[in-house]
């Protein structure tokens, strides 16, 4: 058997066609050869939604670096910027310093639980609509369709021998793909530097090597993954389908072929009716198969290749509309709902599917048919995911609103631990870092708290042991290192180690930060 695609044909009821004796199966290779897939164009509500999601996600990705945000003269005016050289991360009004990078980690945790939440509620919606792989494949398919035509034209072109026309079409298609890929790789680097100047440097050949190599790598991956590998990425490379089973349960929405109303399927219903055979809603038109970007037949049941993009739903709904039948032969449904309806159609499994069990004489469905109930979205699993997601979000918000924009870090000199002065007093040296995390200049006050009798000296500010309070001008958005000496007179020395505080305050804004430091001495004097 095939190890790399899920067994799909075993579980469903065999149709008439398949009951005929088939030719002995050809040998099954260990690895499946690539099946070429030519998805057909489709119009419908899910397709429209997909276009909308593509517009929004690509729009955000390509345009975000070009949004400006005025932070004054001392900070970059790019709204979203990862400034690695200066170790700053700008996100609109929020500026993150390296020690605050847990905000980004927190956002990643939220993204993870958000994905769990969405998956448990509406199944593989991420895969079907928002995953970058899906979005770019969709974009590349649209280009392909524009250049080479729809499904039948593409199949024909693919099978035809090489000709000038085929070469021209293929060249145009791949050129367009490469342009999109370059734009994709190009957009990425704009998040890491000032976009307009980098764009200028990039085209004039003055940008950094890392910029060109990043664009080259992302161009290659976009082109190969989105243009050439497409659904194979989802099937063979992506780890997410392997673990999302843990988030799905019987109440999650999945794209479902409702065979309880579709079977027995048949191309010619009239003939079947004439022969007094039971007939289902599926007319076996294969529209659902033709539109599938993953190349599967949803009527074979749940398959792990299915990314629940719902294009088959659109295709089937269009056909049902034309036939004047009710929509939803293929629909988003929960497994519970499906099984309940299936039990109804088969009389609890005691017979094969009988459309008459689910239909009234006028063709409408019987009242016992279960339909999707929105209340199913609120269950323990989704509420738990929601709870964790909100808790992390709330914690981040609280941390964001209460974080310091003024901070003091102190490092005691290690060698020597203390210095004996000629008058017998003891001096300790400290390296003090004052972090001014706003893009404005300000003057702060550094003072000693505790350690009676001690005096402080900051050579960069003043060469005198003036007093215990120094006014220090801070550059905007910078850490200012200062050498600070604290001297304790001989008569005030009692303990080998005495604790005291460095107090930093911005008297204008009222912000303060305290660092508890130690003063080392040889011990009490004789």
């Amino acid at each position: 058997m095939n190890l790399y695609t899920a067994p799909s044909t075993k579980d469903r009821k065999k149709t008439e066609d398949e009951k005929r004796p088939a030719a002995p199966p050809p040998h099954e290779p260990l690895y499946e050869a690539q099946k070429k897939i030519f998805p057909k164009e489709i119009k419908g509500r899910f397709r429209r939604f997909k276009w909308l999601v593509m517009l929004i996600t690509l729009g955000i990705y390509y345009l975000t670096p070009w949004i400006r945000w005025d932070r004054g003269p001392f900070a970059p005016d790019q709204a979203v910027l990862v400034d690695l050289a200066n170790r700053r991360f700008y996100f609109f009004m929020i500026e993150i310093w390296p020690q605050e990078f847990f905000f980004v980690a927190g956002l990643l945790v939220m993204a993870g639980f958000g994905l769990f939440l969405v998956t448990s509620a509406v199944g593989r919606a991420w895969c079907g609509y928002a995953c970058p792989q899906t979005v770019w494949v969709d974009l590349f398919l649209a280009v392909e369709r524009f250049v080479e035509g729809d499904r039948n034209a593409r199949i024909k072109l693919d099978a035809s021998p090489w000709s000038a026309q085929k070469l021209a079409k293929r060249t145009v298609k791949h050129a367009a793909w490469l342009l999109i890929a370059i734009a994709t790789g190009g957009a990425w680097i704009f998040y890491f530097a000032d976009a307009p100047s980098l764009a200028f440097d990039f085209v004039t050949g003055h940008a950094a090597f890392v910029a060109y190599s990043t664009v080259a790598i992302l161009t290659a991956t976009t082109y190969v993954l989105g243009g050439l590998m497409r659904e194979q990425v989802c099937i063979y490379m992506c780890p997410w389908p392997r673990i999302q089973g843990a988030m799905l349960d019987d109440n999650s929405l999945v794209v479902t072929y409702n065979d309880w109303r579709g079977e027995p399927r048949g191309k010619s219903a009239k003939k079947a009716v004439a022969e007094e055979r039971a007939v289902g809603d599926c007319v076996d038109c294969n529209a659902c198969v033709a539109v599938c970007p993953m190349g599967i037949d949803i009527r074979d049941g749940q398959q792990f290749e299915c990314i629940t993009c719902a294009l088959c739903i659109d295709a089937c709904d269009n056909v049902m509309d034309k036939l004047g039948r009710e929509r939803g032969l293929i629909a988003y449904a929960t497994l519970n709902e499906y099984q309940s309806n299936m039990a109804l159609a088969t009389d609890g499994g005691r017979s094969s599917i009988d459309p008459n069990r689910v239909r009234k004489s006028d063709g409408s469905f019987v009242d016992q048919i279960r339909h999707f109930d929105w209340k199913i979205l609120l269950r323990l699993r989704t509420l738990l995911y929601m709870g964790v997601w909100s808790a992390v979000g709330l914690a981040l918000l609280v941390a964001l609103l209460s974080r310091d924009r003024l901070e003091i870090n102190v490092l005691h000199d290690r060698n020597p631990q203390f210095v004996l002065e000629s008058d017998g007093s003891i001096r300790n040296g400290y390296t003090v870092r004052l972090l001014n995390m706003i893009p404005e200049r300000r003057t702060v006050f550094l003072s000693l708290q505790g350690l009676p009798g001690a005096e402080m000296k900051i050579p960069e500010i003043s060469t005198d042991y003036a007093d215990r309070v120094f006014a220090i001008p801070l550059d905007p958005d910078k850490a200012t290192p200062l050498k600070v000496f604290v001297t304790l007179p001989k008569k005030a020395i009692f303990d080998p180690r005495e604790g005291f505080n460095f107090v930093l305050e911005d008297r204008a804004s009222g912000e303060t930060d305290i660092y508890h430091a130690n003063f080392n001495t040889p011990g009490a004097s004789k």
């Binding site: 050809p26 040998h27 099954e28 290779p29 260990l30 000199d413 290690r414 060698n415 020597p416 210095v419 004996l420 002065e421 000629s422 008058d423 017998g424 001096r427 040296g429 050579p459 960069e460 050498k483 000496f485 001989k490 004789k526």
Partner: protein, 287 residues
């Protein structure tokens, strides 16, 4: 082979090899894998031609690009020197006073001086410049020859009691073992101890004070606070350079030990010496 054997289950041709009834399927390697493999071989050959590759007895084949990691490092060092050139030139052109007046130069000189200190000075003065018995602590405010930036620069430039340098700082304390009697030396020592600590024997202190005024005050001063002209230590403060306790003070009076520091300008050049002076001055005791 004439008799092709096809495996029944898979339908794949076998290689014809058989071990205990087990046959090997003749599945070719994936083409992409093969091409990558060939690619790595080509890459290896190209690499061996371009870069140093084959080890010889004392070196390696140079490769036609003539690349070597040593040359790369050398180029980086030259580039770094060039990048520092402007600052180094400024330091060379400025006096130590002028360096101290310019915060940017001071910062650069302090960092450079710290690096030079860790190579040349730590052997005697310790990695934190805290000194040791016989070697001055450069962090404190007690200076034998003066602690302003120019005096420090002078000391580092020409050394102390360094005979090869004509401008070296020189001073010699006589050996009082030949001049004073042992009892008198004890009395002087008792007096010196009494300047900072309680005397062990108050009866010795008074005659010691007189002996000090007669024999020692010419260098160490009437009040024993030393004299930087001669590098004579201040005996009345809390810091002692070479000695701990009365026994050692007696030994030092009888037969003094003198430290020697080399002159550094000849070895390191004036720019580095200026940087060292700025660094020492920044340690907290600079005047």
């Amino acid at each position: 082979m004439a008799d092709k054997h096809i495996d029944e289950i898979s339908g794949v041709e076998t290689t014809g090899h058989e071990w205990d009834g087990i046959r090997e399927l003749n599945n070719p390697l994936p083409r992409w894998w093969l091409w990558f493999f060939y690619g790595t071989i080509v890459w290896a050959i190209v690499y061996m031609i371009l870069y140093p590759a084959w080890p010889l007895l004392t070196s390696a084949t140079p490769g036609i690009w003539g690349y070597s990691s040593r040359a790369e490092v050398a180029a980086e060092i030259v580039a770094a020197k060039e990048a520092q050139g402007e600052m180094l030139q400024k330091i060379a052109d400025s006096s130590v006073q002028e360096i101290l007046a310019d915060p940017q130069l001071t910062k650069f000189a302090t960092a450079a001086g710290a690096a030079a200190f860790k190579v040349n000075c730590v052997q005697c003065h310790g990695s934190g410049a805290a000194g040791g018995a016989g070697y001055p602590n450069l962090n404190d405010d007690d200076w034998l020859w003066g602690g302003n930036i120019e005096q420090i620069h002078q000391t580092i430039s020409h050394g102390i009691r360094f005979q090869d340098d004509a401008e070296t700082r020189a001073s010699e304390m006589p050996a009082f073992g030949d001049i004073l009697k042992p009892d008198e030396i004890k009395q002087v020592a008792a007096y010196v101890v009494s300047l900072t600590e309680k005397p062990h024997n108050a009866a010795l202190v008074e005659p010691g004070k007189q002996l000090f005024a007669d024999n020692c005050a010419s260098c160490h001063g009437q009040d024993a606070k030393g004299n930087r002209e001669f590098g004579a230590p201040n005996l009345a403060d809390a810091i002692w350079l070479k000695v701990r306790g009365e026994e050692q003070i007696i030994a030092q009076i009888r037969q003094p030990k003198h430290g020697v520091m080399p002159a550094w300008t000849a070895r390191l050049g004036d720019t580095t010496v200026k940087e060292l002076a700025v660094y020492i001055h920044s340690l907290g005791g600079g005047e």
